[in-house]
């Protein structure tokens, strides 16, 4: 399976500033969240990236970049009609190949030498199908994520056959249709914000967008669900953690996680302890 392109969506109303937030990376360098995402992409061996942005944002994005970056193409989302519509704008960019998709309001911390995106792309290349990264998440967080339902792939570790995607389900709904064998009670496999998708997704998204009534928006989860009904779709748990930098204290927690996994771990820990002792 050819995976040479990546698409990052950053056109959401409250999202456009998020990738431009600065954090200190594992090596102690000050960088933007977007830089870190691009590191993920290049770590996966991909050197062409499309970023979907709000109109007029391209300059800000370009100015925020530091050092070597992959080849970037910006797509402006005029007349926005939702997340699914944003992704659809980069259809031609992918040349009919499978692609890596990342959301711009997440930050990833890998627990191995391989980036999270690289781990995912490896699985997709091996299995030759769409794969979404997932993370077991407590039910009280369901209101913030898309969730998969399915079953473990026999004789494979952390790999699941997906038969259902639901966006932000209530635990009542989740318990009835999204329980995956092997998970702890009250835990569900929530989307990680990283997907490798086959080009079929664009056909499904296009159909969805065409059927939209005025004022309606296309989300991605519905089309992912259709894709799972159409062809083989897997989900995998990665050796890493995602942090939603768009929620309250999200950036702070992401920063702490990055710092605690990097060179300044002892210093940050010491500062934290001191902070705790003083308050």
């Amino acid at each position: 399976m050819q995976i040479n392109q990546a698409i990052i969506t950053a056109a959401g109303k409250s999202q456009s500033h998020l990738p431009l937030q600065t954090v200190v990376d594992r090596s102690g360098e000050v960088r933007t969240a977007l830089d870190l995402l691009l590191d993920e992409v290049t770590g996966a061996g991909i050197d062409e990236v499309a970023i979907i942005i709000r109109p007029g944002e391209e300059d800000r994005y370009r100015q925020s970049l530091n050092g070597a970056t992959p080849k970037l193409t910006f797509f402006e989302q005029h007349d926005p009609r939702g997340y699914g519509d944003a992704l659809l704008r980069a259809r031609d960019f992918c040349n009919g190949d499978a692609f890596l998709h990342m959301v711009s309001d997440h930050s990833y911390v890998s627990k191995t030498h391989k980036s999270c995106a690289a781990q995912l792309v490896d699985v997709a290349r091996r299995e030759e199908c769409s794969v979404s990264a997932v993370q077991p998440t407590r039910e009280n967080q369901l209101a913030f994520f898309g969730v998969i339902g399915g079953r473990p792939v026999p004789r494979a570790t952390c790999l699941y056959e997906v038969n259902l995607f639901l966006e932000k389900p209530t635990p009542t709904v989740a318990e009835q249709s999204l329980i995956v064998a092997g998970q702890r009670a009250g835990h569900y496999l929530c989307l990680f914000g990283l997907h490798v998708l086959t080009p079929t997704i664009f056909e499904l998204l296009e159909k969805t967008v065409q059927q939209l009534k005025p004022g309606e928006h296309a989300n991605l989860t519905t089309s992912l669900n259709h894709l799972a009904q159409t062809e083989r779709f897997l989900a995998t748990e990665l050796q890493g953690v995602r942090y939603n930098i768009g929620e309250k204290y999200g950036l702070l927690i992401a920063q702490l996680a990055i710092a605690l996994s990097g060179e300044d771990r002892d210093r940050v820990l010491t500062e934290l302890l001191e902070l705790l002792a003083k308050n």
Binding site: E139, N140, Q141, T170, P171, T172, V173, A174, Q176, A185
Partner: protein
């Protein structure tokens, strides 16, 4: 059969009873226990019990364990006692009894069995074992059903969510769209109720559906209702509303129960009995808004609301039931719960549809939550009860549990059944219309507790009692035929089938589901409409409340009017005998083809009746203290009242009625009536004042009822009693037979009380309750007593005079009944001349009754409810004023009889005895008995024992069984006497006593007069008689008791209040030194009393009813 017994781990002979329990072959599994045990000897039964007990301890399969427990219960209750003649007396270990009360049933059983090993089997011990096995079986069942409810997918998370920070629900954004007036939209849900064609012999009991899914089948229809003469057209009778408000409170309002409250703390949400909002609170919890896992989280409700609806906001939930009275048998409360849960789940996105009808998956999760809500509220319905949430007519069936179900491996069936909604092709619109054109749906006015019936059904199912098991299959056949008739559009046939269902299988399984009222209505319908009366239709658990009568469509309208009148007239005839909660009503109905539906009301209007309830309270507040939204809502209501729209004029009128109610006049009327009743019935105001003073001063009270702690209570020895349980010597009986032939004996039936326990304080005349069918028709207690005297009269040629004592409440109805009964002898009514006025109890006595006196611990949820009710009652007692007169009820319910001791002196005081002795100078003996001692009859053997002893009083005692609480025969400080349970200085003392007081007393009239200091000739001297009675009365203790009294209000609603009253009791005559007493041990059959209707089934099944019938001539 040799099988490997996996639980014991050895190869053993599996006994036939265990084979019945474990077999996969229905032919073996469905064998009847009774038929199997009929031929077994005592030793074989005891051996079977030992094996069953071992099996139930080691068996891992819940349903096999439960069946073994019921087998053990039935053997100890029905089979062993027949084989234990001569081994009646035994001792019940007090420790075992304490364990029983504390719901430690297994420990109780172990103690009783240890005693059985020590002292051998006895009827007494078997009664204790039967009770313990029975309760353990039901506890095991209830625990399992509750566990299943918790493990239903979609319910589990609520038990894991323990803190508001964990709450995963959020209000749907649609409900947060605020308008220019600061008002949020109102989500309104309208729900129908369910009407069942057949429940196949109560097969909708959860346990039956889970154990016998093949036999769990119900057809029911969702219907809209209108009360004839009150509403214009049928509408969904349940309406609920939900909206966001601008105050951080949970505002709950029940329009029909006339109550609203702002809940501010989490603990209030779980306090169900604090007010009438228990059902709304259960819905809030079961829908996950405040999940059950948060119970005990000591925070304000604001913490939850902040998560759910946002900071500074709250939720308001309103319910309204459209004037449908309680006891309608249409599952109104379950469907109301379903409606409330549905609206809460819609609002938080837990079901897919915000408005419109629900999908099948949504309905199933709502039904599962409704079951959870019922459990939380300490009640329980059947699995078909949420039927109003579904549309149209449907077949609901149990389903076999498969691997994906949490029930798999535990029970054969699933907790939730399958619903098949009949399409228009299956049951045509024409057939549905014909059903509506022929069925007259009514509420007969009776509101009864169906709980005991459901327990009986479960028990009989598990024991596979032969007749009942066949009837269950018959009921299944009837259901199939009803479905066929509906599909064929043959509604006349439906009527015939529902009629047969009621007359045959249902009454075969549970005879108590019918009553004289219902049967009288059916007879009148048959007589008036002949072939145009298509049949009777029992709704729900029992007849008397919600019922249906099918007529040819051409006559339906006329029949509906006629039935309304006929029900009212029949009710008037029987209202003293049966517990009616209200006047009967006739409904108009229509099948609801939508099920529960919701709409988002952008006009922000709340359900009818809401403003009348809340506006008066708002007007009493400072306008500045109201939230902006409430101020604007008041302005809006003001504007509506000023409009000239007819609907708004009506609102203005109703509002005015609420603001200026006419209550003062009504209270005055009640006070006058109580006063006049007291004056009529010989109320002693001075004595009443003394009792109040003593109560307030702590000189009287429940704790003061007891004998001094130093009193020595011992069991009697064999020499202290005369045994009448064996064949008398020849010649002894002859004396008595001669006395009977000479008319020396009369019967005195005590019927002055109303039998509070019999109808839980409903205030009907127990003597006139048509409690059981004998010789083909319902008979009252009085019927049975007179039938026994009739038989004696036929045998000895002289019909004994029968005296029935009455009180202020029972006198007129009993006189009317006596006049209507044909009895060849003389029947005299002796009216009581003493009455008391009930008082608000003291908090001290309430606490003593609840904390110091032994009582059955209830299961977890019911116990919580009870504690909550008790807290509310303590508050009521303090607010209403301890020891104040209790006058806030119907006048008759405010008075009380003053104890059965007075009933004999009353004969002297009211001239009955004097006249009787003048008319029958040869009369020498009276047989006094309680109205509920059905076996008490003139027995020449016992009479002879009394006559030959020369005693003043001969009191009959029976071997104690565990249910015989309330005193007994004891040696107290050396004197053999009866001791009331109230007077026992120590609970444990009662368990030393072998004999229980049946109250049946043989009286030597002349010797009794001597005790009073009187003679036959002095009975005409009223002053002397009065003084003699007063003198002896002063020597007897006065007991304070708490009685439950029902107060009815609204549409069949009832509240029960404990009230204080005093009594003097007949048994204390045995403590008077100059009364020469003899104690005669008689058979249990002769002395047992029927105190509660739940006893009836056992009484019928153990052969007691048949034996009583042998004593009667009708």
């Amino acid at each position: 059969m040799l099988v490997k017994n996996s639980t014991v781990g050895s190869t053993t002979q599996r006994t036939p009873l265990i084979d019945i329990i474990c077999s996969d072959d229905p032919a073996v599994r469905n064998l009847s226990l009774d038929e199997h045990c009929a031929a077994l000897s005592r030793e074989q039964l005891l051996a079977a019990c030992a094996e069953l007990d071992l099996f139930r301890r080691e068996c891992h399969n819940l349903y096999q364990r439960v069946r073994a427990l019921f087998f053990l219960y039935a053997i100890h209750r029905f089979h062993l006692p027949r084989q234990l003649q001569g081994r009646e007396c035994g001792v019940i270990p007090f420790g075992g009894y304490e364990n029983l009360l504390a719901r430690r049933f297994s420990e109780a059983i172990s103690e009783f069995l240890a005693e059985q090993v020590r002292s051998g089997p006895s009827i007494t011990l078997s009664s204790a074992l039967a009770t313990a096995y029975h309760r353990l079986a039901f506890q095991t069942l209830a625990d399992q059903v509750r566990k299943s409810v918790r493990t239903v997918k979609g319910n589990q998370w609520m038990f894991r969510t323990g803190h508001p920070e964990d709450l995963p629900l959020r209000i749907r954004p649609d409900l947060l769209v605020i308008d220019g007036n600061g008002q949020y939209p109102v989500l309104c849900e309208r729900t129908s109720v369910r009407m069942d064609f057949s429940h196949s012999g109560w097969s909708d009991i959860f346990f039956l559906g889970m154990d016998f899914p093949e036999g769990a089948r119900v057809i029911n229809a969702s219907i809209n209702l209108a009360v004839k003469g009150r509403h214009s057209r049928p509408e969904p009778p349940i309406e609920t509303a939900l909206r966001v408000i601008d105050e951080p409170v949970l505002r709950l309002t029940s329009i029909d129960l006339d109550v609203t409250a702002d809940v501010r703390s989490m603990s209030e949400v779980y306090d169900f009995a604090r007010d009438y909002l228990g059902l709304l609170k259960a819905a809030v919890i079961a829908s996950g808004l405040v999940p059950p896992g948060m119970e005990g989280c000591d925070l304000g409700i604001e913490a939850v609301l902040t998560k759910l609806v946002g900071p500074g906001r709250g939720l308001e939930i309103v319910s309204r039931v459209n004037d449908i009275p309680k006891g309608s048998r249409l599952a109104v409360s379950t469907n109301l719960l379903g409606s409330l849960i549905a609206i809460c789940m819609r609002a938080t996105g837990q079901v897919s549809q915000l408005t419109g009808a629900l999908t099948e998956d949504d309905r199933r999760i709502v039904a599962a939550r409704a079951i959870l809500g019922e459990w939380l509220g300490g009640s329980g319905g059947g699995w078909q009860d949420s039927g109003g949430v579904w549309p149209g007519i449907k077949l609901i069936t149990g389903s076999i549990a498969n691997e994906d179900d949490p029930e798999f491996g535990v029970s054969r069936g699933r907790l939730l059944p399958r619903h098949h909604v009949y399409s228009g092709d299956e049951i045509t619109p024409a057939a549905r219309q014909l059903l509506q054109d022929s069925l007259v749906l009514v509420h007969g006015g009776m509101a009864q507790n169906v709980g005991p019936i459901l327990e009986m059904v479960t028990e009989k199912y598990l024991l596979r009692c032969g007749d009942e098991w066949r009837a269950r299959h018959d009921a299944l056949q009837v259901l199939d035929e009803i479905a066929t008739a509906l599909k064929a559009g043959d509604i006349e046939r439906v009527g015939k089938l529902t009629h047969r269902n009621f007359a045959e299988p249902l009454q075969k399984i549970i005879p108590w589901c019918s009553n004289r009222y219902t049967e009288s209505l059916i007879e009148q319908c048959q007589s008036r409409y002949a072939d145009d009366f298509w049949g009777f239709w029992m709704l729900g658990g029992m007849a008397g409340g919600g019922m249906g009568f099918l007529f040819a469509p051409a006559r339906k309208v006329e029949a509906s009017d006629w039935l309304e009148q006929t029900m009212l007239l029949t009710k008037r005839e029987l209202e003293n005998s049966l517990p009616f909660a209200m006047d009967p009503v006739v409904y108009e109905f229509a099948i609801n083809d939508a099920g529960t539906t919701a709409e988002l009301k952008n006009d922000k209007s709340m359900p009818r009746g809401y403003y009348e309830l809340v506006v008066p309270a708002l007007l009493r507040q400072d306008i500045q203290s109201l939230s902006p939204a409430r101020r604007r809502e008041l302005e809006r209501v003001g504007q509506l009242c000023r409009d000239n729209e007819p609907a708004n004029n009506e609102l203005a009128e109703r509002l005015l009625d609420r603001i200026l109610p006419g209550i003062a006049k009504k209270q005055a009327e009640i006070a006058v009536t109580v006063e006049s009743l007291l004056a009529e019935n010989g109320f002693d105001r001075i004595a009443h004042a003394h009792i109040r003073e003593d109560l307030l001063g702590g000189r009287l009270g429940l704790s003061q009822n007891r004998l001094p702690a130093t009193a020595k209570i011992e069991d009697v020895s064999a020499d202290d009693i005369v045994d009448a349980r064996f064949t008398p010597p020849k010649g002894l009986v002859k004396t008595a037979e001669d006395a009977l032939a000479k008319g020396q004996v009369a019967v005195l039936t005590l019927a002055a009380g109303v039998g509070s326990r019999w109808t839980q304080g409903a205030g009907v005349v127990k003597a006139l309750h048509p409690f059981c069918k004998m010789a083909g028709r319902h008979r009252t207690f009085l019927d049975v007593h007179l039938a026994k005297s009739r038989r004696i009269g036929e045998m000895y040629g002289k019909y004994p005079t029968h005296i029935v004592t009455t009180g202020y409440m029972t006198d007129a109805p009993i006189r009317a009944a006596v006049n209507a009964i044909e009895y060849p002898g003389s029947v005299i009514v002796s009216r009581g001349k003493s009455v008391g006025l009930r008082m608000i109890p003291t908090a001290r006595d309430l606490r003593f009754a609840w904390e110091e006196m032994p009582q059955q611990l209830l299961d977890e949820q019911q116990e919580k409810m009870r504690q909550s009710v008790r807290a509310a009652l303590l508050g009521w007692a303090r607010t209403a004023g301890e020891c104040n007169d209790y006058v806030d009820n119907l006048p008759m319910q405010c008075l009380h009889p003053v104890g059965h001791w007075y009933e004999v002196p009353n004969l002297m005081r009211n001239g009955v005895l004097q006249k009787l002795l003048q008319d029958q100078p040869g009369l020498r003996y009276l047989l006094l008995h309680n109205v509920d001692t059905l076996g008490a009859a003139i027995d020449p053997h016992v009479l002879a024992l009394h006559m030959t002893s020369g005693a003043c009083l001969s009191l009959e005692v029976i071997t104690r069984r565990i249910e015989d609480r309330g005193g007994g025969l004891a040696r107290v400080d050396g004197r053999v006497r009866l001791v009331e349970g109230l007077a026992m200085p120590n609970e444990e003392d009662e368990f030393k006593l072998s004999f229980y007081n049946s109250m049946t007393t043989w009286i030597d009239i002349d010797r009794l007069l001597e005790v009073f200091g009187l003679s036959r000739g002095m009975l005409d001297q009223q002053d002397v008689v009065d003084e003699a009675i007063r003198r002896l009365g002063r020597r007897l203790p006065t007991y304070i008791t708490l009685k439950d009294v029902k107060k009815r209000w609204g549409n069949g609603q009832e509240d029960t209040f404990p009230v204080s009253q005093f009594e003097k009791l007949w048994g204390d005559m045995t403590a008077v030194p100059e009364v020469d007493c003899q104690f005669i041990a008689v058979s249990t059959l002769r002395g047992q009393q029927l105190k509660e209707q739940a006893q009836l089934d056992g009484w019928l099944r153990d052969g007691s009813a048949a034996e009583i019938e042998k004593l009667c001539r009708w």
